[in-house]
Symmetry: C2
DNA sequence: GCCAAATGCTTGGCCAGCCAACTATTCATG
DNA sequence: CATGAATAGTTGGCTGGCCAAGCATTTGGC
């Protein structure tokens, strides 16, 4: 019986769907929204990756470049705060972007511990294309949503972000 | 002048914030929601990772386990469809879960290409704890949201998912 | 019955991202 | 002024996740 039968454990599992599961008490379906977040996030990243591939970028790198375009040369510690990712991730991402010729690094004159990261001419040349890719990504993501939907979504996402970064 | 000054390129950048940027035309702020999705997704995954760590799981693995608990022994190709992730990812994830003693693999009697994956007793023992972790994650994520908010969010996320998996 | 096409899975290679441990520099405090 | 604490960055090690290439098996078409 290797078919898609439910697991034979829990022999007292009643087939009535209205009865709450005895193992875990869940409001509707357990972790429904967390599941949806996982799936949407992965699809979103994959879509970004497909669009960025033609520019020679990997998903995640465009976020760093966009920050540099937005705020100008920055020390890595500032990028870490702005992007909210781990220091070691930034170190290696900057190393790869430097190797690709898109950013350059130089020691900070004020603080001999710090490294300043700035875009090169080649990096600057990607700015418009990345903007188009990002716009295309946003368009695909939000296709069919009304302006009200978009406002709601932005509001709800910012609530989630606050919740999840509080701890 | 290594301060956080804006980049000196684009000398015609007017300081009026109401004027659309000449480089890229964006509705409100460029890719606002895509940025929010990225940030929320990362925080969500990090939070899941912190909660799962005490169970010896890495984020992503719990999704595979939950599917197995839900639908019973499955061939990998079915898990690939259910989880929507790459075949190679499932292969290696199952390898690691097997090494951790949480799942076992055996060849399918019907199809000599296929591999059946099922949970072990040790894997089954994690079921309740993973359910609690997932519930805690959902609670933290949705803290402060009304029931209406949650319904809206679920609806909007499912729209995004449809949009992003269409291509 | 045979051979090409489709399916199921694996491996190699790459990247983002995390944690832990470490070095070098700066800062604060007595 | 000296010493410990905080900060900046790096490296090692591990995972999830992707793509591309490859192998074994099954299936469809002739």
């Amino acid at each position: 019986m290797p078919g898609p039968t439910p697991p034979p454990t829990d022999p007292d599992a009643s087939p009535a769907p209205t009865t709450p599961s005895p193992a875990v008490a869940c409001g509707m379906e357990c972790g429904e929204i967390s599941h949806a977040i996982s799936r949407v996030a992965r699809s979103h990243r994959v879509t970004a990756g497909q669009l960025l591939r033609r520019l020679g970028l990997y998903p995640g790198q465009e976020l760093l470049m966009m920050r540099l375009w937005e705020v100008g040369p920055q020390r890595q510690s500032e990028l870490i705060k702005l992007l909210g990712i781990d220091a070691s991730t930034v170190t290696r991402m900057v190393q790869r972007l430097e190797q690709a010729g898109l950013v350059s690094r130089r020691p900070s004159p004020d603080d001999r511990r710090a490294v300043l990261v700035e875009t090169t001419a080649a990096g600057e040349a990607l700015r418009a294309e990345v903007g188009q890719v990002w716009q295309e990504l946003e368009d695909r993501t939000l296709a069919g949503l009304t302006d009200d939907d978009r406002r709601d979504l932005a509001r709800l996402l910012s609530l989630l972000e606050r919740n999840l970064t509080a701890g």
